[in-house]
């Protein structure tokens, strides 16, 4: 089906290509949620990427303010105005209505003259000025939507949303949402006392499918980037559905416990206390892959690149040996972590560099970035499934804070989502602390149930292969 792409990275994926041509799309949200920026990007991309001239109708801003704010995001609207593919029209709701209603209206004439295909109306909340009652507002809005449909333009109509005491934002359903062909809802929600995160959700979209749910997005130089949640439909894209292929972990003794190694395309949680050897397992896993010709990626959300390289040097794990596939190390400051941006960069690496093995250190920073158990679980679900579709095998380092007892680890929120769980623990036995490793879960495959002792020395972590437990003499 024909679509009008927004040009916004990620949003078109959520909309399965874009909007139905000629739709009147409501974009509502709280202050600062990004409504105007989304609308401007829609019009800007139309003119620069799709050859579709556009009109910006603003009821509150001056043209030069719109141009200045757009320039801060890297969009030169002045140049587009010069090329006659964009017009910014400051006006009033009543004048807009009057001059758009008839074929000889000034705005109708402007649309015809420039061959406009897209329009942003910022914002329809101002039409309330024309109305004495809710019924009248509804009539005015319906007339506006019908007028826009008749014009053949694909329109974005922003609308302000206010919190009402005792009424959660999600419960607010406006008559505008009923009348519009599609409705997007933007929110700017507190993560904790110092941070906020932006989300976009498609509430409705007549005549087209979309990926449901709240999707995280960013506004930075270049505009909005939306990070779509996993679309279960993507699972059908995976063609490698043959026999299970085992991959060596590169950790002596561990493959034996996993009955041959990790399963290709599966994500395994490696949980354990600080200093337990999680990073060593990750590095050995990547080094082993590189030796076998599989490019790797280590994403650190807690250590700087410099610290990590020292750690690798101390472990004497050779990551980039001559003739081996490359292993890239990517570091991000914990305070700057955007979980979905991290996931997108991993997916991009899988596509562009053919990365086959990924290690992410750690889930703690991802959990902290969300500060919301349900969203963290959703992210892990997305990570596991999107990497599976790409055939990428991954280790998620971290795990729960507190005890690493198997029973506690098994009951964590993400235990059911990941494909495998390897636990590291300290065991107090016979007057000494011993380090033990166990495999708690390996989806669809057998594994050892022992808690086996391990050592960390030059070359990395080594599991004692004989069948003795950490509790033995």
């Amino acid at each position: 089906m024909n679509r009008v792409p927004t040009g916004i990275a990620g949003l078109d994926r959520i909309l399965l290509g874009g909007f139905v041509p000629g739709s009147a799309v409501l974009v509502d949200g709280t202050p600062g949620s990004g409504k105007t920026n989304l609308g401007l990007q829609f019009v800007h991309c139309g003119a620069t990427m799709y050859g579709e001239p556009g009109l910006v109708i603003t009821f509150e801003e001056f043209s030069h303010q719109v141009i200045r704010d757009a320039l801060a995001l890297g969009w030169d609207l002045q140049a587009l105005i010069g090329q006659r593919v964009l017009r910014i029209v400051p006006t009033s709701p009543a004048v807009f209505q009057q001059e758009m209603a008839g074929a000889d209206g000034l705005i109708s004439e402007m649309i015809r003259e420039m061959g406009a295909k897209r329009i942003l109306i910022d914002s329809v909340s101002h039409f309330a000025r024309l109305c004495a009652s809710e019924t009248e507002r509804r009539e005015v809005f319906n007339a506006l939507v019908n007028m826009l449909r008749r014009s053949g333009l694909t329109s974005l109509l922003t609308r302000e949303v206010h919190f009402r005491p005792g009424l959660g934002r999600d419960e607010e359903v406006s008559f505008e949402q009923y009348a519009a062909d599609a409705a997007l809802r933007l929110s700017y929600e507190p993560v904790d006392e110092t941070r906020r995160a932006r989300y976009v959700e498609v509430v409705k979209a007549r005549g087209q499918g979309f990926i449901p749910g709240k999707h995280l997005f960013d506004i930075a130089e270049g505009g909005l980037t939306v990070f779509p949640n996993f679309d279960p439909g993507e699972l059908t894209d995976r063609t490698e559905c043959g026999a299970i292929e085992r991959l060596s972990t590169g950790v002596p003794g561990l493959d034996d416990m996993l009955e041959g190694g990790l399963v290709r395309g599966f994500t395994t949680l490696v949980a354990g206390p600080a200093g337990g050897g999680k990073t060593a397992i990750g590095m050995q896993f990547l080094a082993e892959g590189a030796r076998r010709g599989e490019a790797g990626l280590f994403v650190s959300l807690r250590s700087s690149s410099e610290k990590l390289r020292r750690q690798i040097a101390a472990l004497e794990v050779e990551l980039n040996q001559p003739g081996a596939a490359p292993v890239r190390i990517a570091c991000e400051h914990p305070a700057m972590v955007n979980p979905y941006r991290v996931l997108e960069s991993v997916i991009a690496d899988a596509g562009e560099r053919n990365v086959r093995r990924v290690v992410l250190d750690s889930t703690g920073e991802i959990e902290q970035a969300f500060n919301d158990a349900a969203r963290f679980q959703q992210w892990v679900f997305d990570f596991v499934n999107r990497l599976y579709v790409k055939g990428v095998t991954a280790l998620l380092l971290g795990g729960p804070v507190g005890s690493f007892e198997p029973t506690e680890l098994a009951s964590t929120a993400i235990a059911g989502i990941v494909d495998g769980i390897i636990g590291l623990c300290n065991v107090h036995a016979r007057g000494e602390i011993r380090q033990g490793l166990y495999v708690l879960k390996s989806r669809g495959a057998g594994h050892s149930t022992d808690v086996r002792p391990y050592t960390i020395s030059a070359g990395g972590l080594r599991v004692v292969t004989r069948r003795v437990s950490v509790y033995d003499e």
Partner: protein, 107 residues
């Protein structure tokens, strides 16, 4: 196609600080189409304050007025002289010279 009009009468028509403010607004928003109430609200005045001045600017040829049987709507005239006028009011020096002229040439 641009309309033709003379420049001097246009500059001369800007005979008050508020008219200068209105023309400066249109210079920054050349595609604006609005009624007196709308323009007044953006500039922080009422429609009854800016309305008569908009009419005068329309008569002088700076603005176009439409909506004979409805609420009058104002927008910029598209001609070389108006563009020159906009260039003038868009610069600090130009605005300063015009303000000085309004004060009778006193600096």
């Amino acid at each position: 196609m641009s309309e033709r009009c003379d420049e001097d009468p246009l500059v001369g028509a800007i005979d008050s600080p508020l008219k200068l403010e209105i023309v400066t607004y249109f210079a920054g928003s050349p595609a604006a189409i609005d009624c007196a109430d709308g323009i007044g609200m953006r500039l922080g005045y009422t429609g009854s304050v800016v309305g008569p001045l908009l009419e005068e600017l329309a008569i002088a040829g700076v603005l176009r007025r439409s909506g004979a049987d409805r609420v009058p709507i104002f927008r910029l005239r598209d001609c070389v002289a108006v563009r020159s006028l906009l260039d003038l009011v868009s610069s600090r020096e130009g605005r300063s010279a015009m303000a000085s002229r309004m004060r009778g040439g006193r600096e």
